[in-house]
Subunit: 420 residues, 2 copies
């Protein structure tokens, strides 16, 4: 074994041992660890910013683009936001030990389904230091041990934060090994995590861009919880209220264009296109959005650029919106089934039958009626935070919060029953 | 593409199209298909037995062992059992469309979590013709399309059954492609299924022995729902009732030794070993069970063979039981954590505090209190049937019935909300 292999295997063994202690610890201890961590993140602001300055200086010296540096750089407000996010997760109901179902079948056994942690999560992310605190907090809340691997560009910042996490766990009487940060920039560590470290990692969670997620999905030899992309649609039904359509579409596209819940394609019923599309398009253009429409849409809004087939399959993550006129609700649903990524779709309509038909037919993780696709977010769902939005079909779909990071077991109480 | 590749890709496309139709069909149509299938299995008994005779004759000519032929061979009673199993699944509550949760977070959105099918399941099994009917029934109940790949030795039997499934689907107004059987014995078809057929298969379910499951887990490029083994323990706590201990241990080991819910290791508290072990061992020996004990156990029951380390890690699936004396409940839980497979464990005790402590500490899929481990079964849990028992930690643990073959989506109802 190489030195790195030896160190990573040791990390795995320590995580596994810590996972057992964490699982058996009371909810109050996990809450306490989160509360202490939130306090420490606030108190240690200067130390975190100093570590982050080292990362930013090195990144700038290495020629990192300003857009990526913005992702990497912390400010007093961002550190405060990090502490607030941890405090919010501390206040979320503890998911563990909850009985989600209980019943007695014909054999007389009393069967309960009880939430329990998954075990050890391997979280692989890019150079966003706040993920170190976020991911750790969700793992602690859900009783899972974590092995965190940050982008090498934010290693100093993450080490500073990880030091506070270890202290908070220790002060709450929990093993500091419950959250471990891989402390080397060596990229081979990622490959080792993807092997599962000899059974020490139960699931890998990639949190980052497409190339990271694709690599993890291709190489992982353990289960992966990931989302690929959010190619989301907002559909203006013929019975849409114009004011709602205007407010929601601009928000769904332009509130933040870089989030996975942003709308990428607008579908408009032909019967109402003349009424709805020109004013909605004017709002979007005024907000700085480029529109790419099919021929019918361009005919209604000449400022649009003609769309090509590629526009229906592109997650822009930019102030660009594809626009297509559809025959009706079935046409919208067919377009979504063909081009969507199964993430989030919305219908705008005053016709509740049509709304329910859309919700039944469209099989994405989140289907919204008269609301912005930007609500696709664990915080907005009341989960206190999220580690991502899953577009997979197994285990968890949609926002993945602490509850989605649990599994269950059956506790079956009998009085000496034997099976015939 | 080879001819087989072309055919398999076509199978995948047809399954995907059928999955959409099946998902959108009413529960009554799926129930009807199952009821018709149960009737047809009964009515076509002679035809099924004739096809099975072809398989059995060929297998015998190829030198198949009698044990395997017994697994392959159908009888009038077994065909009736198959029909009964399908009728039972027809009577299970439909899992689709059920709202499992509904709440309103601070933003005022009305969020519902609704069960929906996974999509297309690939089921790979061995030469047990009844699995063709069982797996098809669970897929139809859960609204999933299925691609079934049976062991080549039962292809004639499975084709006869698959023909009836197609007729039943058609008579219920559902697409016959919702359940397709791979109609070639070519083993390369399995490899193609494990690639996911270009996204057409959402999850692979291996149902069979260790080597099949291991191959699928190693090679699959899509998600896998599987169980590895049931290395199950029954623990006699010092406060165990002797009569319950005697009845439950013999049942847990000997009712059927070849099922994954059979107990493989008996743990006995030292403080009560003299009271409990000799009579329990006598019952087991009288029932034809070989006992392999540690030194303390052998001292109490000289008829035992001395156990080696390998006995703690062996899933015998045979009338053999490993026996170990433990210090106390923690000792039992530690043994289970170290050697168990996370499948099913039982405690026998009259001390309810101890029972609850065991249930909390032991993190297996199923933990039983005063009941036989042989209850680890979807039918006994009231699921109407099962496609297997999962020891994985994601998606489903324990018995996998129709409900466990579903996923969920969020339907979010708003009144024009935009995200601040």
């Amino acid at each position: 074994m190489t030195d790195l292999e030896t160190r990573m295997m040791d990390l795995g063994r320590r995580a596994r041992a810590a996972a057992v202690a964490l699982r058996d610890a009371p909810a109050a201890a996990r809450t306490r660890a989160l509360e202490v961590l939130a306090q420490k993140l606030t108190a240690a602001q200067a130390q975190i910013l100093a570590a982050n300055a080292q990362d930013v200086d090195a990144a700038r010296a290495n020629g990192m683009t300003e857009a990526l540096i913005d992702r990497l750089a912390l400010t007093p407000a961002r550190v405060a936001g990090m502490a607030q996010a941890v405090a919010t997760i501390a206040a979320v109901a503890d998911p563990l030990g909850v009985e989600t179902e209980r019943w007695t079948p014909a054999n007389g056994l009393d069967i309960a389904r009880v939430r329990t942690p998954i075990g050890v999560l391997g979280v692989i992310y890019e150079s966003r230091p706040n993920v170190t605190a976020d991911a750790a907090a969700l793992c602690i809340r859900s009783g899972n041990a974590a092995i965190l691997r940050c982008g090498s560009d934010c290693l100093h910042s993450s080490l500073a934060i990880a030091g506070l996490i270890a202290q908070a766990l220790d002060e709450a009487g929990l093993p500091a090994d419950a959250v471990q940060l891989v402390d080397t920039p060596d990229r081979a560590a990622v490959g080792l995590m993807l092997t599962g470290l000899d059974g020490a990692i139960d699931v890998i969670i990639p949190r980052g861009g497409k190339s990271l997620v694709a690599r993890v999905q291709a190489e992982a030899r353990v289960a992966v919880l990931s989302h690929l992309e959010g190619l989301n649609h907002t559909y203006l039904h013929e019975a849409a209220d114009l004011a709602v359509a205007r407010a929601v579409v601009v928000n769904a596209k332009m509130r933040r264009v870089s989030v996975c819940g942003a709308t990428e394609t607008l579908l408009v019923d032909r019967a109402a296109a003349e009424r709805l599309l020109p004013p909605v398009a004017a709002d979007l253009i005024a907000a700085g959005c480029e529109l790419r429409g099919d021929a019918e849409a361009v005919a209604l809004v000449p400022a649009m650029i003609p769309a090509t087939e590629a526009d229906w399959t592109t997650e822009y993550l930019a102030p660009i919106l594809a626009v297509r006129i559809v025959d009706d609700l079935d046409g919208a649903a067919d377009h979504i089934a063909r081009y969507g990524s199964g993430h989030t779709e919305a219908i705008i309509t005053t016709d509740s039958d049509a709304a329910e038909r859309f919700a039944a037919r469209v099989d994405s993780a989140i289907v919204l009626i008269n609301a912005s696709t930007q609500f696709a977010d664990g915080g907005e769902f009341g989960f206190g935070g999220e580690i991502g939005i899953s577009t997979a079909r197994l285990h968890a779909r949609g926002p993945v919060g602490a509850e989605q990071l649990t599994t269950y077991k059956y506790v079956v109480r009998g009085q000496g029953q034997i099976r015939p």
